[in-house]
């Protein structure tokens, strides 16, 4: 059985609208309570489409202000850092902002290949397949084929192929279970929404010294004309946690800077639990994402401002710890390296840095 090291804590339901599963606080790294049923079919799409707030207008001034805000925040970075542009991805940003306890060993957020990570990679491929074709044959075989089609994910494929029969069978079972969830909950998407998967976004910042590079698992909606019309969905095979919201917000910021219009919603969907965590995109959300980006880039550059153990306001690991039982929380905030929490669970996107 593939285990989730962060499967504890409390869950907070907001009760926003009938049948919704939205959460406050960016998720709680805990499985949904008994009796709860994930949204499915039209209800799932309605949750995504109707955020409870008016969709933001396309506002050139907002985009200009955001860009100016970022450029001012990174002004000295542009002045001092030479060489190729610093490429900022979601994983690198999270790693750079982690405190001394949660900072990954490699410093860039590229975790070792593990069963959860492999599961995430496979399920990510399956989600894409479902959106594109609306069908699976054998989920595990399909996913492995999709993962193997080019050399990009070769390390993960090699790791999977090196599993013992028993471990491979466990992985197959979990992938199949999550595939069933996708099949049962995600309806066919209207072609008029232009559903597209793994859409890359690249944005230059700090006069070209910084390059923001993200990929959005699912983008829905035509480009905005007057009002925001695009929704972004990140997919994870993990339990939802605060860090997922950080990633989704970074995607919102990147999309806003790229397109000159914000998305109206960002969401994270957990294939593991079927939860869909939706946030309406507001100026406050975008400014928060910009602040986090500036802090992360400044921590990323040589000699940057890294946070000490247990003292990082943007540390996703610390945020996740807040939702753990008390004993665990006490341990996690202690500035002792040995108290490092278990490895993060599933990432649906194998970090680009890990791929060959």
């Amino acid at each position: 059985m593939i285990t989730d090291p962060d499967s504890r804590g409390t869950r907070v339901d907001t009760g926003v609208g009938p049948g919704t599963t939205a959460r406050v606080g960016g998720g709680s790294a805990t499985p949904p309570s008994a009796g709860w049923q994930p949204l499915a079919g039209p209800a799932l799409l309605d949750r995504l489409r109707v955020t409870g707030r008016p969709r933001p207008s396309v506002d050139a001034a907002l985009v200009g202000n955001l860009r100016g805000y970022l450029d001012r925040g990174l002004d000295d970075v542009a002045a001092t850092v030479g060489g190729p542009a610093t490429v900022v991805t979601g994983h690198r940003l999270t790693a750079a902002l982690a405190c001394g306890i949660h900072r990954p060993d490699d410093g860039v957020g590229c975790p070792p290949i593990s069963a959860p990570l492999a599961c995430g990679a496979l399920v990510g491929v399956l989600f894409r397949q479902w959106v594109t074709t609306g069908s699976f044959d054998d989920p595990f075989d399909d996913a492995l084929e999709g993962l193997s089609i080019d050399g990009h994910q070769a390390p993960v494929v090699a790791w999977i192929e090196g599993l013992s029969a028993a471990r491979r069978s466990e992985l197959r079972a979990e992938v199949g279970r999550q595939a069933d969830g996708i099949r049962q909950r995600w309806p066919a998407l209207d072609p008029a929404w232009l559903p597209r998967t793994r859409e890359p976004i690249r944005v230059e910042l700090a006069h070209g010294r910084v390059e923001l590079a993200v990929r959005i698992d699912l983008v829905l909606g035509r480009p905005a004309v007057l009002d925001a019309s695009v929704a972004l969905v990140e997919v994870t095979s993990a339990l939802l946690r605060p860090g997922h919201r950080d990633d989704a917000r970074l995607g919102a910021l990147a999309e806003t800077l790229r397109s000159g219009a914000p998305p109206f919603a960002v969401a994270t969907y957990s294939t593991r639990t079927g939860e869909l965590d939706v946030e309406a995109v507001t100026p406050e959300l975008l400014v928060g994402a910009a602040n986090r980006l500036v802090a992360g880039v400044r921590a990323m550059i040589p000699g940057g401002e890294r946070s000490a153990a247990g003292a990082a306001p943007w540390c996703a690991g610390c945020a996740a710890e807040l939702f753990r039982p008390a004993a665990s929380t006490v341990t996690s905030v202690s500035p002792v390296r040995a108290a490092r929490p278990a490895a993060p669970d599933v990432l649906v996107d194998v970090p680009e840095e890990l791929a060959a």
């Binding site: 491929v125 399956l126 894409r128 397949q129 959106v131 594109t132 074709t133 069908s135 699976f136 044959d137 075989d141 399909d142 996913a143 492995l144 084929e145 999709g146 993962l147 193997s148 089609i149 080019d150 050399g151 998407l189 072609p191 008029a192 232009l194 559903p195 597209r196 998967t197 793994r198 859409e199 890359p200 976004i201 690249r202 944005v203 230059e204 070209g208 390059e211 035509r222 480009p223 004309v225 790229r258 397109s259 000159g260 219009a261």
Partner: protein
């Protein structure tokens, strides 16, 4: 992504933008002479294919020039352009509502046709036909994402009737150096003849080229886009030089258009010569490396030289080529 409406994107017909036949001859001479100088002294003419991608690499990743090519193998990213273009064309023709529902049938049609006739419209048909469901879905997904970006970039009611999708690459072989080939690949050609005055012979049949690239536009996009017009003009000198080239960078939400004139073509020609020179330079360096005793004392330099097509003049070449490079770069 910002909607790019080509039909409303500004005046294209600029009387001063027309490149005459004499202008084109002058640019052609620049390219031919520059390449001849770049490869002068080589006993065997090198084989160099200049593409938009190689032009960009020569500027942004010069260290990658001369690196050995990976053996070709089909991947989703190699299929997405041709399949995506065919899907967009099918949508423009009203056969499908959107790329997401077009790519599958378009790919199936291509495979069916290949099975029936042996004709490969896209070349990937046999490879695609052998894929399982998962791999096939990965190919289709990549094409949907690529095509959707293009689908929303134009007002197809206006551009659709004038659009020619894909098609053969423009290929021009340098006279006197048959190993040097310039390849231009644009995604769409928009016919401008409907917008020209009937008496204006120079513009009849003129086209506007559209190029779609991934990543971010660099800082030399004008010359890079003009390169596509240059190759189109060189390989079809009897046709009008493309009036304009529009570049789209969907990842970055950027678009950039250049009006093609003599000065811009000259700059593109200079980039081509620099690229060829640097490629030749890099290959010579690679060939020379095994001769170095410090690296491999067991190698007989004389034997290496005898086996090298660059051997007769290799020792004098890099400096000469570098000289050209620096001149052209400045």
């Amino acid at each position: 992504m910002t909607v790019t409406c080509v039909a409303a994107s500004g005046a294209v017909d600029r009387p001063d933008g027309v490149v005459t036949a004499d202008d084109l001859s002058a640019v052609r001479a620049l390219v031919v002479d520059g390449i001849a100088q770049a490869v002068s002294g080589l006993a065997d003419g090198p084989s160099v294919e200049v593409t938009l991608s190689s032009l960009r690499r020569a500027r942004t990743e010069p260290s990658s020039i001369g690196a050995p090519y990976e053996e070709f193998a089909w991947k989703p990213v190699f299929v997405r352009r041709s399949l995506g273009l065919a899907a967009v064309q099918a949508c423009v023709e009203g056969r499908f509502r959107a790329p997401s529902v077009a790519v599958g049938p378009v790919a199936d049609d291509a495979v069916d046709q290949w099975r029936r006739t042996g004709w490969r419209t896209f070349h990937w048909e046999p490879w695609f036909a052998g894929l399982g469901a998962g791999a096939r879905a990965a190919v289709l997904a990549e094409a949907v994402t690529w095509a959707s970006a293009l689908w929303v970039a134009f007002d197809w009611d206006d551009a659709g009737p004038r659009a020619r999708f894909g098609g053969a690459d423009d290929l021009w072989t340098c006279p006197g150096n048959s190993g040097i080939r310039l390849k231009g690949r644009c995604e769409i050609r928009l016919d401008r003849s409907g917008h020209t005055r009937p008496t204006d012979r120079a513009r009849r049949g003129a086209e506007e080229l559209v190029s779609v690239s991934s990543g971010l536009p660099g800082d030399a996009v004008d010359e890079e886009l003009a390169y596509l017009a240059l190759v189109a003009a060189l390989c079809a000198p009897d046709r009008p030089v493309p009036l304009r080239v529009l570049g789209l960078w969907p990842d970055a939400g950027e678009r950039h258009a250049v009006h093609v004139d003599l000065e811009l073509l000259r700059r593109a020609a200079a980039r081509v010569v620099v690229s060829v020179a640097e490629t030749v330079d890099a290959r010579v360096r690679v060939r020379q490396e095994p001769v170095r005793p410090a690296r491999d004392p067991a190698v007989d330099p004389a034997q290496v030289a005898a086996n090298s097509s660059f051997a007769p003049l290799a020792s004098g070449l890099p400096a000469a080529v570098s000289g050209i490079s620096s001149t052209m770069s400045s």
